[in-house]
C-alpha cells in the first residue's frame, strides 16, 4: 500500500470546514451566549434561572414536552401496528402501502396545517358536522394540536420501523408455530425483544422531530407558546432581540432531546444485555 501523506487528507477538508464553521462554532457561541447576562454580558446562569422560574418560559417548555411526548406515544403505537400489519401481509402489502407513506411523509408544515384548519378549524367542515351532534373540536389549543403531530409521526415512525420488522425472520415464526406458540405469544416472547432497539431508536427520532416542529404550530397558532416559537421570536428582527435568553432556551431544548435519546439508548443496552444473557 502507498505511503500516506497530507495530500491524501485534502478531500475531506471541505467537510470539516463546514462542520467547524456551521456546526461547532455556532454551537459553542450559543453555549457562551446562554451563559451571559443580557445586560452586563458577564458570566451568569440568569438565563437558565429565568427559564426554570418564570411561568412564561416554563409554559413553553412544558407545552413542547407534553405535546411531543403524547404525540410520540400514540404515533409510535400506530406506526408499530402499521409496520406489523405490513410485515404480516408480506411483500404485496409493502408494495401497495409504501407509496402512501411516501406520499404523506411529504405532506408536512404549512400544507398539513392548512388541511387541518380546513377540516377542524373554526369554519372547518368536520367541525360543522360535529356541531350537528352538539360537539366542537378546538384545533387552536395544545390538545387540539396533538392529532396534527400524530399525523406526521405515523409515516416517519412506520418508515423507520419497517426495516426492523424485516429482521424478524419468517423461519422464526414458523419455528415458533411448530413449537405451539400462537401469534401473540410469538410477538411478546420473540418479536418484540428483537424489535425493541428499532422501536426505541424510532421513538427518539419521532420525539426529536415533534419537539422541534415550528411551521405547523406557527401557522395554526402564531401566539402559542412552544420552545421553537419562543426561540425564533427572541431572534426575530421585528421585536427586541433576546439572543442570550434565546440561546439558553435552545440549549434547554437540545438537552431535552439528548435526555430522551440517552434514555432510549440506555434501555437499548439494557435489553441487549438481557438478550445476551
Amino acid at each position: 500500500m502507498k505511503k500516506k501523506n497530507a495530500f491524501d487528507y485534502l478531500p475531506c477538508v471541505p467537510f470539516f470546514l463546514l462542520a467547524i464553521f456551521f456546526l461547532l462554532l455556532p454551537l459553542v457561541n450559543t453555549v457562551v451566549e446562554s451563559l451571559m447576562d443580557p445586560e452586563t454580558k458577564a458570566f451568569s446562569f440568569i438565563n437558565y434561572i429565568n427559564i426554570f422560574t418564570k411561568p412564561i418560559y416554563l409554559l413553553a417548555v412544558w407545552n413542547s414536552v407534553r405535546i411531543a411526548l403524547v404525540a410520540t406515544f400514540f404515533g409510535i403505537i400506530i406506526s408499530f401496528f402499521t409496520a406489523l400489519s405490513i410485515s404480516m401481509l408480506g411483500e404485496k402489502a409493502l408494495k401497495s402501502f409504501m407509496p402512501i407513506m411516501n406520499l404523506t411523509q411529504n405532506f408536512a408544515g404549512f400544507p398539513l396545517a392548512f388541511a387541518f384548519m380546513l377540516m377542524l378549524g373554526h369554519a372547518g367542515f368536520l367541525n360543522a358536522i360535529l356541531k350537528i351532534f352538539g360537539l366542537n373540536y378546538n384545533l387552536y389549543s395544545g390538545n387540539g394540536l396533538i392529532p396534527v403531530f400524530i399525523y406526521f409521526a405515523i409515516p416517519l415512525g412506520t418508515l423507520f420501523l419497517i426495516p426492523g420488522f424485516s429482521a424478524v425472520k419468517k423461519e422464526w415464526k414458523e419455528a415458533a408455530t411448530l413449537l405451539n406458540a400462537n401469534g401473540a405469544k410469538f410477538w411478546f416472547r420473540i418479536g418484540l425483544p428483537v424489535l425493541a432497539p428499532t422501536i426505541l431508536g424510532t421513538t427518539s427520532i419521532v420525539f426529536a422531530d415533534s419537539i422541534t416542529t415550528y411551521a405547523t404550530v406557527y401557522v395554526i397558532m402564531t401566539n402559542y407558546s412552544t420552545m421553537p416559537l419562543k426561540i425564533a421570536a427572541m431572534f426575530s428582527k421585528d421585536a427586541t432581540q433576546q439572543t442570550e435568553l434565546g440561546s439558553a432556551l435552545s440549549l434547554t431544548m437540545i438537552v431535552i432531546i439528548l435526555l430522551v435519546m440517552g434514555l432510549t439508548n440506555l434501555l437499548k443496552s439494557k435489553l441487549a444485555k438481557g438478550v445476551e444473557a
Binding site: 455556532p26 402499521t82 404480516m88 406520499l103 392548512f114 426529536a208 411551521a215
Partner: protein, 271 residues
C-alpha cells in the same frame, strides 16, 4: 396464512391509509369549490385553478426560487460528502467514525436552533459568511448532511468498495480514477435517495429561511404562509396542492431514476 387471520391487519392498513390520505384529499376537493364551511361545499368551480395558472406570476416566481434554493445546497453537500468519503475509503477508514458522528448531529441540531446559532455568530460581522445567502446555503448543507451521508455510506457498503478499488488498481487504474469512474457511478442509487430526502426537507423549510434570510427572497412556503394568514380560501388550497405535488413528483421521479440506474448497475456488473 389463512384469511381468518389476515383481516385485522388489512383493517389496520385500510384505516391508517384512509386517515393519512384524507387531509390531502380534502385539500384537493376544496380547490374545486367556491367555499366549504358547512358539511358540504357551497358550490363547484374550476375558477381557482384557472386563476392560479393565469393571474399569479409572483407565485410561480416563488416556486422557481424554492427550487433554486433547494438544489444548490444539496449539490454542494453531496460533493463535500463524496469527497470526505473518498478520504475514508482511500486513506483513512478510521475517519469514518468521526464523519458519521458529525453527520448525525444535524438530526438534532437543525431548524430554529441551527439558524439562531448561525445568525448569533455571524450576522452583522462583515465577514464573507456574514452574507445572509451564504449563511443560508451553508446551513442547508449542514441540515442535509445526515441524509446524504447515510445514502452515500449505505451504497458504499453495498458495493464492496475495497475490492472494487483493488481490482481497478490491479488493472492499472489510478486511485482517483478508480474512485470516480468505478465507485461513484455505482453509488448513484444512494446519492439519489439522499437527494430525494434532502430535497423535500429543504423545499418544505420555512423556519430556517425566514429566520436567516427574512422576507427578501420569497419562496413558495413564504407565499403559502402569507396566503393562509390573509385569505386562506380555495385558492390557497390550490397552492398547497401545487407545492405538495411538486415535492411528491420529484420523489417519484427520483425513485424511477433510482430503479433505472439500479438495473443498469446490475447489468454492468453482470457483463
Amino acid at each position: 396464512m389463512n384469511t381468518r387471520h389476515v383481516w385485522p391487519y388489512r383493517l389496520i392498513l385500510i384505516l391508517v391509509g384512509i386517515t393519512q390520505i384524507f387531509p390531502i384529499l380534502v385539500t384537493l376537493v376544496y380547490t374545486f369549490t367556491t367555499g366549504w364551511v358547512k358539511a358540504i361545499p357551497s358550490g363547484w368551480t374550476m375558477k381557482n385553478w384557472v386563476e392560479i395558472f393565469t393571474q399569479h406570476p409572483d407565485f410561480w416566481l416563488s416556486m422557481k426560487n424554492s427550487l433554486i434554493i433547494s438544489l444548490v445546497p444539496i449539490v454542494f453537500s453531496s460533493i463535500i460528502i463524496i469527497l470526505a468519503m473518498y478520504t475514508v475509503v482511500m486513506s483513512c477508514p478510521k475517519l469514518d467514525g468521526i464523519i458519521q458522528g458529525i453527520s448525525m448531529i444535524p438530526f438534532t441540531l437543525k431548524g430554529v436552533v441551527l439558524s439562531i446559532s448561525v445568525i448569533g455568530l455571524y450576522a452583522g460581522k462583515g465577514l464573507f459568511i456574514s452574507n445572509r445567502l451564504v449563511m443560508l446555503i451553508c446551513s442547508y448543507c449542514v441540515v442535509t448532511m445526515p441524509y446524504i451521508y447515510r445514502g452515500i455510506r449505505n451504497s458504499l457498503y453495498s458495493i464492496h468498495v475495497h475490492q472494487m478499488v483493488e481490482a481497478a488498481e490491479l488493472l492499472g487504474a489510478s486511485r482517483l480514477y478508480a474512485f470516480f469512474r468505478v465507485v461513484v457511478p455505482n453509488m448513484w442509487t444512494g446519492v439519489i435517495v439522499s437527494f430525494l430526502l434532502s430535497f423535500s426537507c429543504i423545499f418544505c423549510d420555512y423556519a430556517m429561511i425566514s429566520l436567516i434570510l427574512g422576507s427578501r427572497f420569497v419562496t413558495a412556503q413564504m407565499k403559502l404562509y402569507a396566503m393562509i394568514s390573509s385569505k386562506g380560501g380555495p385558492l390557497t388550497s390550490a397552492v398547497v396542492i401545487i407545492i405538495f405535488t411538486t415535492t411528491f413528483l420529484i420523489s417519484v421521479l427520483a425513485y424511477q431514476f433510482q430503479k433505472q440506474t439500479g438495473e443498469a448497475a446490475v447489468k454492468t456488473t453482470e457483463e
